[in-house]
Amino acid sequence: MIERAIGEEDFGARLAFDRGAAGRRAAAVPQWQGRETPLPAAHLLRDSVRLPELSQGELVRYYTALSQRNFGVDTGSYPLGSCSMKYNPKVNDLVASLPGLANAHPAEPEAAQGTLRILLDLQRALGAITGLPHVSLAPAAGAQGELAGILMIRRALEQRGEIDKRRRVLVPDSAHGTNPATAAMAGFTVTQIPTAADGAMDRAALAAELDGSVAAMMVTLPNTLGLWETGIEEVARDLHRVGAFVYGDGANLNAIVGRVRYGDLGIDIAHLNLHKTFSTPHGGGGPGAGPVCASTALAPYLPAPVVAEGSTGTLALHRPGESIGQLQQFHGSVGVLVRAYAYIRTLGLAGLRAVSENADLNANYLRVLLEPHYDLPHPRQGLHEVVFSGSRQRKAGVRAYDIAKRLIDYGLHPPTVYFPLIVDEALMIEPTETESREDIERYAAALVAIAEEAERDPEALEAAPQRTPIGRLDETRAARRPVLRWPGPETKPCGSKGTVERQVQEAAGA
């Protein structure tokens, strides 16, 4: 809280590894008091691991200071586009830590009937919300949900005997990078579908691609411009007509939750990001959960496990008949799933409908407040987020990057920048429903002030942010000469044997 205290200016230069002193310790481990069993043979053992030696107080101060060098939703507005950075209810953390839940062992699911009940009811709720009634909670995040979904499609095609001819997955050019990457991981090639002027996919371009070589199309609903894919029902029908599946990227469900259901639109399978729509904390980059919700046709391929109720009312983990298999060693991000369940139980349907209502109203309000000051490449009424372009400011030499950095000086987290890729100097702002009217106004006022600064004194913006513990960092340097661990690249890697390195170096260079 003391700003760049004298003598602590270069805080980042000293890791935990560089602090403390030999012989200090932060934990008191009991000594074994009983009969000593000899250790295994020496060649199986090691000397001690190099780790920091700090007192407990030193460690606590270090990580407390680190936390204070972080900005979270609890710090202030965090309208990172495509991320639904909403308030994370504290009661859900409390619930997830109940000892009966937190200590349940995954290898004995029959003894965890309470947890299984939560998971089953969550499956049902997500099935009801998406209109895709068959749900697996196994995926650890959105990207793993995508992988599951596309692999399911692959397996379905295989069973139909069509996998050899259907090698292509269509992906709009506005899609999140995980979409094409997933398609590739599932062994498909990617065909990109351009976006039309109205921000929806280019239907003519799509029509031109539709044939028997298409395995599936991945659509994000609403899309990453925060816009509705007008005519998505026809798109789905067209795809089905050529025998392809429709995959729904549900990362943006927050915009439409309770308003329309993926299943009703013709989507065959979708993943949801519980760490977005369903309020679980983002944790600095996870953990999340990315359940997949499938139509009856795809249900047999769902990843394991799925929770099912037996005839006696006993719940059990179940492996669907043609399952693509497991995605994790155990049963998914259960701690996250419990939080999402608690959230749904707190809100109920009316609460969920209020979520989309207020998320969308906030984004549109922000849109009208900012439209006079920033270019809006797709000037339509939007849903949960709005994507501006910094192109007008770019002409004055100010990049979206600079605008983002300057926002920080206003105590605000910048939006997503440079995504979606199809928008020049993109500023992708998703306020979510948990921001208040005043929060939106404050954000808009800051962006308006920055737009003025961009005209008046563009160079000044390049010095932003100035009110942070550290200034702009040199990312080129980081990538050019990577320092990726303590004590730095000067020291030899700890392990140095190996015989395939040369061969590998060639392959990696390819």
Binding site: I324, E433, A507
Partner: protein, 464 residues
């Protein structure tokens, strides 16, 4: 909870009717329904069957009631491991990782206000490298099994081969997940009984350490066998054991994966988890996941007197051209949201333990387990299957079929080890895979010994 007329609809949504009215007017809409006007009218506002909303008090009571239905609520003595180990995690870990600045942030795209996440991730990479004995690590993957699957994909990429070999005994979940990932890439998965079965078709061999039935492996000959056929050696570790066991990298492993969850917090029915992933430096640009690098400010801060301070040290996401959001279909993986908070907690645990504490905790685990095994083996009718040096898990065979012993223990309020009699290894025949960790108490072992003695007595194996 029921809103007063005009009130905010939930405690999580600030805007009231008055706010909405003002905003709608500005947006130029007559009602919030119009926000959804582009959605297909036929499908609009479906009837969705969800249970009624609960106030906090009722929510807590509801979840407490459910939690009580888990046997874990009764604090039974437990000897279940098999991939999820009840570990001692220092109290500092929970209290620091729960700080909301860590918990409510996301992927650190803005390094100036994310040094907490970034610097911690750099600490994590450093800790993982030290444990593994390898030069590079990422910031963590979903779990140990999916990290292992990613290691197989990496090996296939760099060797341009299309088969991988998994060495038994290995956790069935690992095999399953590797198969799932392999399916997409068209890799063949061979489950082999010995490293001698490796061929030059194999991109990698995957060896679990300790193996699934608890025995400590010598990684060196396995790595040598792999390297002899041009394959990579992937070792899947339980990180606590590395407080005692040789660093796999030093023994020749090329990639080390593992499950970090149990040093980050409670087993939590197996998730969220934390995949550890370290590799030799040559594989750096083929690695999946996010990587944090150290750098410095573009320029030093301007001082009061106009001079420039020396640039300060900071951390950024780096080598991002491997990643999906830049390289899209040519990325090394589709990985995006990971397990940062668990990586943070894992790091704090390891750094709280330090070199001395880690060794002590591993030793305590080892000693407690061997003591318990010795006591169990001394009970008439019971035997511990001999399989070489082991760490915390042993195979226990009794006078009854494994399932019957397990049921008899359950009746006595004891959660036995996993029944592994369905496995192919002869040693696993009618055996329970009993696990004892540093958290197992003397009281629990006493209860186990008493129960086993009673079971042995009841089946008339008597003293011999």
């Amino acid at each position: 909870m029921k809103g007063r007329a005009g009130a905010a609809p939930t405690p999580y949504i600030p805007n009231t009717d008055a706010d909405r009215a003002a905003m709608l007017a500005r947006v130029g809409l007559a009602s919030t329904e119009e926000l959804f006007k582009e959605l297909p009218t036929d499908q609009r506002d479906p009837l969705i069957d969800l249970p009624p909303s609960l106030g906090d008090l009722d929510l807590l009571e509801h979840l407490r009631t459910l939690a009580r239905r888990n046997a874990a609520a009764q604090e039974r003595p437990s000897f279940l491991g098999a991939g999820a180990y009840r570990r001692s995690v220092p109290a500092v870990t929970g209290s620091l990782a729960a700080r909301s600045e860590f918990m409510t942030a996301y992927t650190p795209y803005q390094p100036e206000i994310s040094q907490g996440t970034l610097q911690s991730a750099f600490e994590f990479q450093s800790v993982v490298c030290e444990l593994a004995g390898l030069a590079v690590a990422n910031t963590g993957l979903y779990d140990g099994a999916s990290a292992t699957a990613e290691a197989c994909l990496l090996a296939a990429r760099v060797t341009r081969r299309s088969a991988v070999a998994l060495l038994e005994p290995i956790h069935a979940g690992t095999v399953d997940v590797v198969r799932t990932y392999a399916y997409g890439m068209g890799l063949r998965v061979d489950v082999i009984g010995s490293a001698a079965q490796l061929t030059d078709e194999h991109a990698a061999v995957v060896a679990q350490q300790p193996d699934f039935l608890g025995t400590i492996r010598d990684i060196e000959p396995i790595a040598e066998a792999a390297h002899a056929v041009g394959a990579l050696c992937v070792t899947v570790v339980d990180p606590l054991t590395l407080g005692l066991l040789r660093a796999p990298g030093d023994a020749g492993a090329d990639i080390v994966t593992g499950e970090g969850r149990d040093l980050a917090g409670p087993v939590a029915f197996g998730g969220p988890s934390l995949g550890l992933f370290a590799a030799r430096e040559v594989y750096l640009r083929q690695m999946p996941g996010r990587i944090v690098g150290r750098t410095q400010e573009q320029r030093g801060a301007r001082r009061g007197d106009g001079s420039e301070a020396p640039p300060r040290t900071g951390y950024v996401l780096t080598l991002q051209t491997r990643e999906q959001f830049i390289r899209r279909e040519r990325a090394t993986s589709n990985f995006s949201t990971g397990q940062s908070l668990l990586a943070l907690a894992f790091t704090i645990t390891l750094q709280a333990l330090g070199p001395q504490g880690l060794r002590e905790q591993a030793t305590l685990c080892y000693q407690k387990a061997h003591n318990a095994a010795a006591r169990a083996a001394a009970i008439p009718g019971f035997a511990v299957v001999e399989r070489g040096p082991w760490f915390q898990e042993f195979l226990l065979r009794g006078p009854l079929p494994a399932a019957a012993v397990r049921a008899a223990l359950a009746e006595r309020g004891i959660e036995a080890g996993l029944d592994v009699s369905d496995r192919s290894e002869p040693a696993a025949r009618e055996a329970l895979l009993m696990c004892v960790t540093e958290t197992t108490t003397e009281r629990e072992v006493d209860a186990l010994v008493a129960a086993l003695t009673a079971i042995g007595g009841a089946t008339g194996t008597g003293r011999d």
